[in-house]
């Protein structure tokens, strides 16, 4: 059993409930215990920094202070949301890089009877923990329903692989962790060139055309690579690609129908959990068609020896039943 301190973040309580439900199932299977920080608050997303700096960092650090109080044998905080992960990591890192920030934030925390020593916690994303602590072998050993034949676009978005203060990822722009994980589930992972490109972030709310352009790029690339589904590690990416796909289609006159789900939903599926308990069906662009593909995926057959006849001269093959040739066309 591995124990971690858990910071779910606001999205997992509302728009990304399926992420929360599915990660609970996956964590239980692989032996992860998550101890949620009591009475945590919002991380401020990308909005508070631009309004007021000191409160923005104090807001984030209240969570770290509460988490450090809870640290009981473990000092690793796991955040499943990219923005939460980055903000917690950023506050911890900058308070070390610039001690004055740490001092000021601690003066603010004092007003609430709290304190935090920068560097006393390790902040990690759920994907990082699954790959580097639990390991692909354990994940593979839990697979009972391989995702054979499902073409998945691994989509990380920005804030998990970048800026990566602690150098946790294989690359900032083309990391392979999510690809390897999905491959371990038996999925056919496409080499998605835009895997760490931006989903538009908060732009749907402030400059929608900018967001549509970015979503259009992502969807076009996923379609070109014939992905059945996108798998993401971020609630904001899920929301933007899912909820604004309709508006993007309208804006560009396109007809993308690309479902996007959380990577934990696909792990859960491979682990044998039901789509319902994993929160499938809450996506706006339905993943039904993609799921049907796994349901009907042919079981792996053993390689049989090629029949000797095929090595001979090419012979006309009998037509499949139900197909007729228009003889006139053949003559022409």
């Amino acid at each position: 059993m591995s124990e971690y301190i858990f910071y779910p973040g606001c999205s997992l309580e509302s728009s990304a409930k399926s992420y929360h439900d599915s990660l609970n199932i996956v964590c239980e299977k692989v032996g992860i215990t998550l101890n949620e920080i009591d009475d945590w608050n919002c991380c401020g997303a990308t909005e508070y920094f631009g309004i007021n700096l000191t409160p923005a960092y104090a807001l984030i650090t209240r969570n770290l202070a509460l988490a450090a109080e809870k640290a009981n044998g473990t000092n690793t905080v796991v955040a499943p949301c990219s923005a939460c992960y980055l903000n917690l990591a950023k506050a911890d890192y900058y308070m070390r890089e610039q001690p004055k920030l740490g001092t000021q934030v601690n003066l603010a925390l004092e007003a609430g009877g709290l304190s935090y020593k920068p560097g006393s916690l390790e902040i990690r994303h759920l994907l990082d923990v699954l790959i580097y602590d639990i390991g692909l072998d354990t994940i593979k050993s839990n697979v009972v329903r391989p995702l054979t034949g499902l073409r998945v676009a691994p989509y990380l978005g920005c804030m998990v692989p970048r800026p990566d203060y602690e150098k946790r990822w294989s690359d900032h722009e083309h990391p392979v962790e999510l690809d390897l994980l999905l491959e371990a589930l038996g999925a056919e992972v496409i080499d998605f060139p835009l895997k760490t490109h931006c989903c538009g972030g908060h732009m749907p709310h402030i400059g929608p055309e900018t967001a549509y352009e970015m979503l259009h790029r992502l969807l076009t690339s996923a379609d070109e690579h014939k992905a059945d589904i996108m798998a993401t590690v971020c609630p904001m990416c899920q929301m933007n690609v899912d909820a604004y796909q309709g508006e993007t289609n309208q804006y560009f006159g396109t007809n993308h129908k690309m479902p996007i789900v959380f990577f934990t939903q696909l792990i859960g599926l491979a682990f044998g959990a039901t789509p319902k308990e994993l929160g499938f069906g809450s996506e706006l662009v339905s993943a039904k068609k993609a799921l049907a593909k796994i349901g009907t995926a042919p079981p792996k057959t053993k390689k049989t020896r090629k029949s000797k006849k095929k090595a001979g001269l090419p012979m006309p093959q009998p037509l499949p039943t139900g197909i007729r040739i228009n003889e006139e066309e053949v003559i022409r």
């Binding site: 309580e13 919002c42 890192y93 609430g112 722009e173 400059g207 508006e247 809450s282």
Partner: protein, 194 residues
């Protein structure tokens, strides 16, 4: 080297570039910019910006306060950190953008309200509840800024509500008083140095 919001007499002696660096969290390394343009070339939203990050940093160096704070560039930045990991000088570009936003808001320089009001509405929700409140945020923001988009978005909104992905009521943290005290003190601390 940079430090967090130095006292006002010190700020007065700083150039604009130094002031922005000093107001940025962490060590911004803004003064190390060599104007190579890797940032703008890596930016997925540069097309919609008044100035590329490189241009904006040149303007800061030139002391063009008003033009810099009126630029839409930091508001179009999507915080994707592509420029940050590619910058050969390790400038904390995204964080510099946050600083410029903050300076533009406090000096009321930036005129187009949509972006800054979205941030402010988001922050209001946090200061009231301790958690983000998507339904309140979305309705308040879209009614004011994008009323014409609402009919087209109705099916999405209904979808999110019926699939229980958006709560109609906000959740408030238990110890809201503690958070308020912390944020109030943080604001005082920030203000004494302004």
């Amino acid at each position: 080297m940079s430090q967090l919001t130095p006292p006002v007499h010190e700020i007065e002696d700083l150039t604009l570039l130094e002031e922005v660096a000093a107001r940025t969290a962490g060590v911004s390394r803004l003064e190390m910019c060599i104007q190579c343009g890797t940032c703008g070339g890596s930016c997925p939203s540069a097309d919609d910006m008044d100035h590329t990050p490189r241009q904006l940093f040149a303007m800061l160096r030139a002391g063009m306060r008003e033009e810099s704070l009126k630029s839409n560039t930091p508001w179009i930045c999507v915080s994707c950190y592509h420029c940050v990991v590619r910058c050969p000088q390790n400038v904390h570009i995204t964080d510099v953008m946050y600083t410029i936003k903050g300076m533009a808001v406090s000096s009321s320089m930036y005129e187009s309200g949509t972006a800054s009001e979205f941030s402010q509405t988001f922050v209001d929700m946090i200061e009231n509840y301790g958690r983000s409140f998507e339904f309140g945020l979305a309705t308040r923001h879209y009614l004011k800024h994008f009323p014409l988009r609402l009919p087209g978005m109705a099916s999405m909104g209904i979808g999110l509500l019926t699939k229980q992905r958006m709560a109609i009521k906000p959740t408030r943290i238990k110890n809201m008083k503690q958070l308020t005290d912390i944020l109030d003190r943080a604001k005082e601390l920030g203000a004494t140095h302004e």
